[in-house]
């Protein structure tokens, strides 16, 4: 009996390949286009003459970007927020995840419920804002380091990791040798935790780098703006021009190439994340796998 063509495995493979290649191009092209447009001659880009490769290579856009005080300051701020925020996040999450993975922790269920409940119900924006305000954290650097530095999802990933990887015998042997919990954690558990620290450290770092909401709500002082708020001004509100620039010719030129500047800004701001991304992609995926085991 002859079956329909779609049951022919060779033809099936061809269809699959065509579809996968189309998806690949469909998602890759806009990313690629932003890159080539950012280094092409701005006039050729706006005339629609740049399609597949950069033309009239020009770094004029980048030149303005690296002289823009707002971007440099936002970049520095976000590096501080992401660095300190990730350190705080690891300090909160790793020990807690380890403690919750221990079967001899009394009251484990209640404590988990205490945390998990916050995933499904929250006070909402306004009460949160009032609490942050009453703690004196509005318009401080600390608020952007602290908020978001504890996520119950990451806590569950950490707990699952420890529950699956730390052999009980190791702990018993250490206890026989007179090791207390704290020493055991520092000298035995932490050295064995590199992969989980990498995974959730990366999650937190990316979160802090990309975080926009907290800055929008809690920061009014322009000097404390994280990068994403500056990006909003440039990319969405269209304020391509640094207000400290007074040279009229320069302002005119900036208006002409504002689109190229936007492409450049997209690259510059996403670069840190996209640069480490190919190296750590496996770690990111690992987190999803660990998380899906038990949640």
């Amino acid at each position: 009996m002859k079956r329909a063509w779609w049951h022919n495995d060779k033809k099936f493979d061809i269809v699959v390949t065509i579809l996968v290649v189309s998806i690949l191009i469909f998602i890759f092209y806009p990313l690629y286009f932003v890159v080539i447009a950012s280094i092409s001659n701005p006039d050729l880009v706006s005339a629609g003459k740049v399609w597949f490769w950069p033309r009239g290579i020009s770094f004029e856009g980048y030149d303005f970007i690296f002289r823009d005080v707002r971007i440099l300051r936002g970049y520095m701020n976000t590096m501080i927020y992401a660095g300190c925020g990730t350190a705080i996040a690891l300090f909160i999450t790793i020990p807690a995840g380890y403690a919750l993975s221990r079967s001899d922790l009394k009251g484990q269920k209640i404590i988990m419920l205490f945390f998990v409940f916050t995933m499904y119900f929250s006070g909402g924006l306004i009460p949160m804002y009032l609490v942050v305000k009453s703690l004196g954290l509005v318009d401080t650097r600390a608020v952007l380091m602290i908020l978001g530095s504890f996520s119950v999802f990451n806590l569950i990933i950490t707990r699952t990791f420890y529950a699956n990887t730390m052999p009980k015998e190791l702990q018993e042997a250490a206890e026989v040798d007179g090791c207390n919990v704290f020493q055991y954690f520092i000298y035995v558990v932490l050295p064995l935790s590199k992969s989980i620290i990498a995974v959730i450290g990366l999650y937190y770092a990316v979160y802090h780098w990309n975080s926009f909401f907290n800055g929008l709500i809690y920061i009014n002082n322009v000097k404390l703006y994280p990068l994403q708020l500056i990006l909003r001004d440039i990319l969405i509100s269209g304020q391509t021009i640094d207000t400290s620039i007074t040279d009229l010719d320069m302002i005119k030129r900036l208006e002409q190439i504002s689109r190229t500047i936007k492409y450049g800004v997209i690259i510059v701001s996403s670069l840190p994340v996209l640069m480490i991304y190919p190296l750590v992609q496996k770690h990111f995926v690992k987190g999803v796998m660990i998380g899906s085991v038990k949640s």
Partner: protein, 310 residues
């Protein structure tokens, strides 16, 4: 005597336990402090939804007014628009976004060229790591009337489409750009489920003359269906927690009729407008509906897949 001994034994056991394990509670202190300050304190502050909040009197000191602000919201002219926009966007995103990661996972699973598979995975996961601001910025420059996509359409003689300027297109841009951003990342869990299917089943099917399509329908699909149903139910339980950031960033005065959702409205009248009690009550209304949905959905999930999340 016996009793006494037991008691001593018990006491010393407790002492030993405390000595051995109390430090574990110290490990939990930072996390508990965070949760109390930034999760439970705001929950305590929900009471201002039922009060005339005055900053000088605080959460507890302000006057009770009952459901005054809820009534104000239900009777306001925005009520219907807000609920409609929030629900339409969520359901659209849920229904359109559900099958695509599954299809992608099947395609990748049956891609024989490993290099192509790796490249596609890497490229489709990448947009997940681009920030919402940058992603929306890209939408504006690429989909603008003179953006690259309208230039491409122009080559085929199609007039520029106002992706970002026409209010009616807001929903489509919102939902489909979200799908493009997340489809790779959301497919990971399905790819994991597909690779855990025992290869012997596939081998046996091949011996029986099954085509690849047969194997997808009769082996792969049944094996990932529980995961798929579970995820579908989970996201149905999050219907009302539509993201603030993207709607806010894509919003302008022209598309407000389609883009104003509960989350953006709460921000506008609360943080910008200072109507704290009113916006707190709208936020609470939203959270309560969501929590109720979650409980219902969890019950359904327990019945259907024997897996609950709570």
């Amino acid at each position: 005597m016996e009793n006494q001994k037991n008691k001593e034994n018990y006491n010393s056991r407790i002492m030993r336990y405390i000595k051995k394990s109390y430090m574990l509670y110290i490990f939990l202190i930072p996390a508990i402090v965070y949760a109390i300050l930034f999760d439970y304190m705001p929950m305590y502050g929900i009471q201002i939804a039922f009060k005339d909040f005055r900053p000088d009197l605080g959460f507890a000191g302000s006057q009770w007014v009952g459901f005054k602000y809820f009534k104000m919201f239900f009777e306001s002219y925005q009520f219907e628009t807000l609920i409609r926009n929030t629900l339409v966007l969520s359901f659209y995103a849920l229904i359109a976004g559900f099958p695509i990661p599954i299809i992608l996972a099947f395609l990748l699973n049956y891609t024989t060229n490993l290099k192509l598979k790796k490249a596609t995975q890497m490229v489709t996961y990448a947009p997940h790591f681009i920030s919402t601001v940058v992603f929306c910025g890209m939408l504006f420059v690429l989909l603008g009337t003179d953006g690259i996509y309208n230039q491409i359409l122009g080559v085929f003689g199609i007039k520029p489409i106002g992706f970002m300027t026409k209010a009616e297109n807001f929903r489509h841009v919102y939902v489909w750009s979200g799908i493009i951003q997340q489809m790779g990342w959301n497919s990971i869990i399905y790819i994991a489920a597909l690779t855990s299917v025992s290869p012997e089943i596939h081998e046996a099917a091949i011996v029986d003359g099954a085509s690849k399509l047969d194997r997808i329908i009769h082996i792969d699909w049944p094996s990932i269906m529980p995961t798929a149903i579970m995820l579908l139910i989970l996201s149905a339980g999050r219907i009302m927690t539509l993201g603030f950031e993207k709607a806010f960033l894509l919003q302008n005065n022209l598309n407000l009729d389609y883009s104003e959702i509960i989350a953006t409205y709460v921000y506008k009248i609360g943080i910008q407008g200072g109507q704290l009690s009113l916006s707190a009550s709208i936020g609470l209304f939203n959270n309560l509906i969501n929590f109720a949905l979650l409980l219902v959905v969890n019950q359904i999930s327990k019945k259907l897949t024997k897996v609950g999340i709570l």
